[in-house]
Symmetry: C2
Subunit: 282 residues, 2 copies
């Protein structure tokens, strides 16, 4: 069993040093509480509601920034020395580009950086979208895939992570609060539940809290089993969702000797998904 | 608004004439109750738990069978004369092939036949899988897409129906009963909810009841709004889920002026979905 922790944080926009301390404290606490894999929110080091690209750039860093060495030291201090951190940051790219990125860090340092591909709303004015598939990183606990927030709402993207072998999909998020009908989970969780089910893949979403420039957040941090059940939530405010998962369970895509969720796909018939075509029927 | 009815029936395996009467009665009742679109289960005319292909063939029909003329007459008797019936049947195909099919019928006759592409478990020993995308049929009420049961669990397939312009996805099903954790909806409904959300498309699933050769059924007949909310269910036993839906709502894929669930897709990056490749990571 692997102990997973998803930490709900309240980064402050533009305050890199303060956010760095908050993240380090939260990561250290999670490893001290015996977690092996710790996920923190999207843009945890920078905050989210930027006025413009310049403001985002002012708190953007490259993957060789010393904060990741700090996360690596914390990961080395995990119970088994094999801690893994997945966290969002604003990345300084080529030229003046800024990316909404997430890093996978273990005791050896940065294992992968992912740049968000599906940008949400005003992010399109701030960030340059990524061009690469979600990475899947082999760890002693299992294979950890990574994507960010709105990416999760494209079943093509979660499927690609599943096909690439992700046992656990780690999803740093900032889910702006929108109305949810009584008795229903937030829409993002309902989408994550199905992504887990159809791919038999565990999913962990680390959301944020703390009003920022008028935006409230869903505070929907959750861990979802490969059977599509929300097995832990952080609840409102600062906190964490924690759960023990057998990530090996994600490897078996069979529902019966004659049913395999991946082998039963019909890629020969899915061409419409990759042809631009008209966006909708006529 | 369009009145939708999904009828939960108990076809008996091999009893074509009895099943035909049950279906006709249920369709007539739904139109009499002012429905405009009526969906009945998968294999409603044949039953499901066949011993083998020969038994299935014995109750298989072609799309020119008079039962569809009967459904067309019932559709003509709908409140506005523009009734639509979607129902599953065992189809006699070319040679000795048998397909798990669904027909879309209106007053003019059979508008489309769909052959199930993703076969479930022992269906693989009985049926020949389809080779064509889910049809999307233009009706006075909106565009009705069709797929069958397990098809719904492949987000590629529901997306293809969405991209083809389906406002309402009609899904005849036979959901064998499997354990569901307390407090959770059946897995198939959880998957349908997300398919509705990510495609902003209404979904109606007509399930069956009645133990058949030791198999029990989920009795999960449900109507799901484009906002991913289950707005009507049939409950256990014979019954129907009914709801009024504004199918025009499915046409707008925008969540904000800067977010469009279809335009925000990145088909240029989805190639992995159509390349056979290794089924899973290494």
């Amino acid at each position: 069993m692997t102990a997973i922790a998803a930490v709900q944080l309240d980064p402050a926009v533009g305050d890199f040093d303060g956010n760095r301390r908050k993240a380090a404290t939260a990561i250290a606490e999670a490893f001290a509480a015996r977690a092996s894999i710790v996920v923190i929110p999207e843009l945890a080091t920078s905050g989210y509601v930027f006025r413009d690209r310049d403001e985002a750039r002012s708190v953007s860093i490259r993957p060789d920034h010393e904060i990741f060495a700090e996360w690596a030291r914390l990961a080395a201090g995990a119970r088994d020395g094999a801690g893994v951190v997945v966290g969002g940051f604003s990345e300084l790219g080529e030229g003046d580009e800024v990316h909404n990125s997430a890093a996978v860090v273990d005791a050896s340092g940065v294992r992968a950086v992912y740049r968000k591909v599906h940008l949400w709303d005003r992010e399109k004015e701030v960030f340059t979208p990524g061009k690469a598939a979600p990475p899947v990183v082999d760890t002693p606990h299992g294979r950890v895939g990574v994507m960010i927030c709105f990416d999760l709402e494209f079943p093509e993207w979660t499927r690609i992570a599943g096909l690439a072998g992700a046992d656990l999909l780690a999803v740093p998020t900032n889910w702006p609060l929108v109305p949810t009908p009584p008795g229903e989970r937030p829409a993002e969780q309902r989408i994550a539940v199905a992504a887990a089910l159809v791919n038999r893949m565990a999913i962990v979403c680390a959301d944020r809290f703390g009003r920022e420039r008028g935006v409230d957040w869903t505070e929907g941090t959750a861990i979802i089993s490969p059977a599509g059940v929300v097995i832990a939530e952080a609840g409102p405010g600062r906190g964490a969702a924690t759960a023990d998962l057998d990530l090996a369970e994600s490897r078996d895509k069979r529902l019966s000797p004659r049913i395999d969720l991946f082998d039963d796909r019909r890629p020969d018939l899915y061409g419409r998904l990759v042809h631009p075509g008209p966006a909708r029927g006529v």
